[in-house]
């Protein structure tokens, strides 16, 4: 995994952006994945095929839908509707359970993520629930850099 992934990371055209300068007195933050954009209005970004508009959260050599080879960056809506979910009660070691995993329809783009800010039980999570993207600190590394994760929380009416 390491060699291939390391080489692949160097090819990224849309790398993660650190929020503040590295090594400074303030805590720096990095997104958990490169398609999460931090800042005042955290949002997700997809590579959008310039031929057919298909969106991908990782790089593609050619569009899986129409085979075009050029992509632009498209911001994804930060609100959406929960169209599938599960409550994972049993997971690999190191993965805290229970948690709600789901797929959110963000204005026509399907996004994978956890539902957070709710009790992880069937009485508090429902198909069709309106949700919004939120971010949180996943952890801090030895340099004091914070990893920022994202999830979807219920959208208050």
């Amino acid at each position: 995994m390491s060699n291939f992934d390391g080489a692949a990371a160097n090819l990224l055209t849309m790398g993660p952006k650190r929020c503040t300068y590295k090594g400074g007195p303030m805590a720096t933050a990095v997104p958990i994945v490169d398609y999460l954009v931090l800042g005042d209005n955290p949002h997700l970004i997809a590579r959008e095929c310039t031929g057919c508009g298909a969106r991908f959260f990782d790089r593609r050599n050619a569009c899986a839908s129409c085979f075009a080879t050029t992509f632009s960056n498209a911001p994804i809506s930060t609100t959406g509707e929960l169209k599938a979910f599960t409550i994972v009660a049993f997971a690999a070691p190191g993965v805290p359970v229970p948690f709600v995993a789901g797929v959110v329809d963000c204005d026509g783009t399907s996004v994978r993520g956890n539902v957070i800010g709710v009790d992880p039980d069937p009485d508090h999570v429902a198909l069709g629930m309106k949700v919004k993207l939120t971010t949180y600190v996943v952890g801090t590394d030895d340099d004091g850099t914070e990893a920022i994760g994202f999830g979807f929380a219920p959208l208050e009416a």
Partner: protein, 400 residues
């Protein structure tokens, strides 16, 4: 007629725990039984396809050393949970291409105690400094933070997505599907688990990934299955008894995912299965109403529901009504998974795609004993491997 493809011999081992047999032993047991069932030997076999995922590779050649090395071409096949069906289809293609007139397909897996599949995420622990890596530039383990990679959770969402689209699903509904399969398993001596389970027991068991409790998940176990495939022309040269027991492969189809918007983030097991079933019905010249039994890929209770629809056993969107009508019970109008399905028969991954064909053949030959579907003439077997690959075979009783 001479272009027809037939199953001459087919078998599955007992599914369950086989602590004294390794992968090659199980493959050899299945292969030799299939050859004996067909009344032929390795000398007759012109091609071998061997399916296995986690045995370390090169199963086909290891198998030859156990049962007969004749220099024939060997294809080692790996295609997720569709591996067995892919091995079978590889042999069918070789025969259709005229390269030989008889071949052997084997699928085998040792999975007892394998635990949760798909939960392969390992946290970076060697050096605790965030550096992006991988295709998503992840700085840490994302499993459990950005959705779930594990199979029970993935297929739970697939069932829930169906419920969101068409309505009518509930924890209880999915549990009832599992109740059906566990009930069916009581008649299958080769199933890993043969205990009837009540709805209360199923719903009250350990939750794995809502709405799938433990008995609603396919059972990791050991097992092998094998089939001898023959051309119609060659079959005509064999005994009347062999011709009578041979089962016609009316359709053999393998598909992969066409692009769809949401399959980029949650596997879309629907589109490629619908494509495969459509192609299979066209190839076979039969429709869903002609089927006497179906073995479909119920890797989780939530998966079985969507495949009623994908295999066109019901109107689009009508899977809940189809199930609640009682149709897929063994005494219903369209018996589904009378073997007990993957939830009770077990799911030794690479064996599954041949074992479900064995189940259908067993009924078409009238040899299924207590669980025989009376008068069965046409059956369908379906598997899906995530990623995805879908195999659909339609089988017909010999007219001889």
């Amino acid at each position: 007629m001479s272009d027809d493809i037939w199953i001459l011999g087919i078998t599955m081992t007992k599914f369950g725990k086989h602590p004294d047999l390794d992968t090659v032993d199980l493959a050899a047991q299945a292969a030799m039984a299939a050859l004996a069932d067909g009344g032929v030997t390795m000398a007759d076999i012109g091609v071998l396809a061997a399916g296995n995922l986690i045995g370390g590779g090169g199963l086909g050649q290891q198998l030859q050393k156990q049962i007969g090395q004749t220099g024939i071409p060997v294809y080692n096949v790996s295609n997720a949970c569709a591996t067995g069906a892919t091995a079978l289809r590889t042999v069918i293609m070789a025969i259709k291409a005229g390269e030989c007139d008889m071949g052997l397909a084997v699928g085998v897996e040792k999975l007892s105690g394998a635990g949760l599949l798909g939960a392969g995420g390992t946290a970076k622990s060697d050096k605790n400094v965030y550096e992006p890596s991988g295709r998503y530039g992840a700085v840490t383990n994302t499993d459990g933070r950005i959705g779930t990679n594990n199979m029970p959770g993935t297929f739970a969402q697939i069932g829930m997505e169906y419920g969101h689209k068409y309505g009518g699903t509930s924890f209880e509904l999915f549990a009832k599907i599992s109740e059906k399969n566990h009930s069916h398993s009581t008649l299958n001596p080769l199933a890993a688990y043969t205990k009837k389970m009540s709805l209360e027991q199923i719903m009250g068991d350990m939750m794995i990934a809502y709405p799938n409790t433990r008995p609603m998940c396919s059972a990791n176990c050991d097992g092998g299955a094998a089939a001898v495939v023959i051309s119609g022309a060659k079959l005509k040269t064999l005994s009347l008894e062999q011709q009578r027991r041979a089962v016609k492969v009316s359709a053999s189809v393998l598909t992969s995912d066409p692009w769809s918007e949401s399959c980029q983030v949650l596997p879309d097991v629907n589109t490629l299965t619908r494509m495969a079933s459509t192609q299979a019905y066209e190839q076979a010249g039969v429709g869903p109403a002609d089927l006497d039994l179906v073995e479909l890929h119920d890797c989780f209770a939530t998966a079985e529901l969507v495949h009623y629809d994908n295999l066109q056993l019901c109107e689009q969107g009508g899977a809940v009504d189809f199930f609640t009508s009682g149709a897929p019970w063994r005494d219903g109008t369209m018996p589904v998974n009378v073997s007990g399905g993957l939830q009770s028969k077990g799911h030794p991954i690479s064996a599954t795609g041949i074992a479900n064909i064995w189940e259908v053949c067993h009924h078409l030959r009238g040899e299924a004993g207590d669980r025989q579907i009376q008068g069965a003439r046409v059956g369908l077997a379906h598997v899906i491997g995530l990623g995805s690959a879908c195999g659909v075979h339609i089988l017909e009783k010999s007219a001889a």
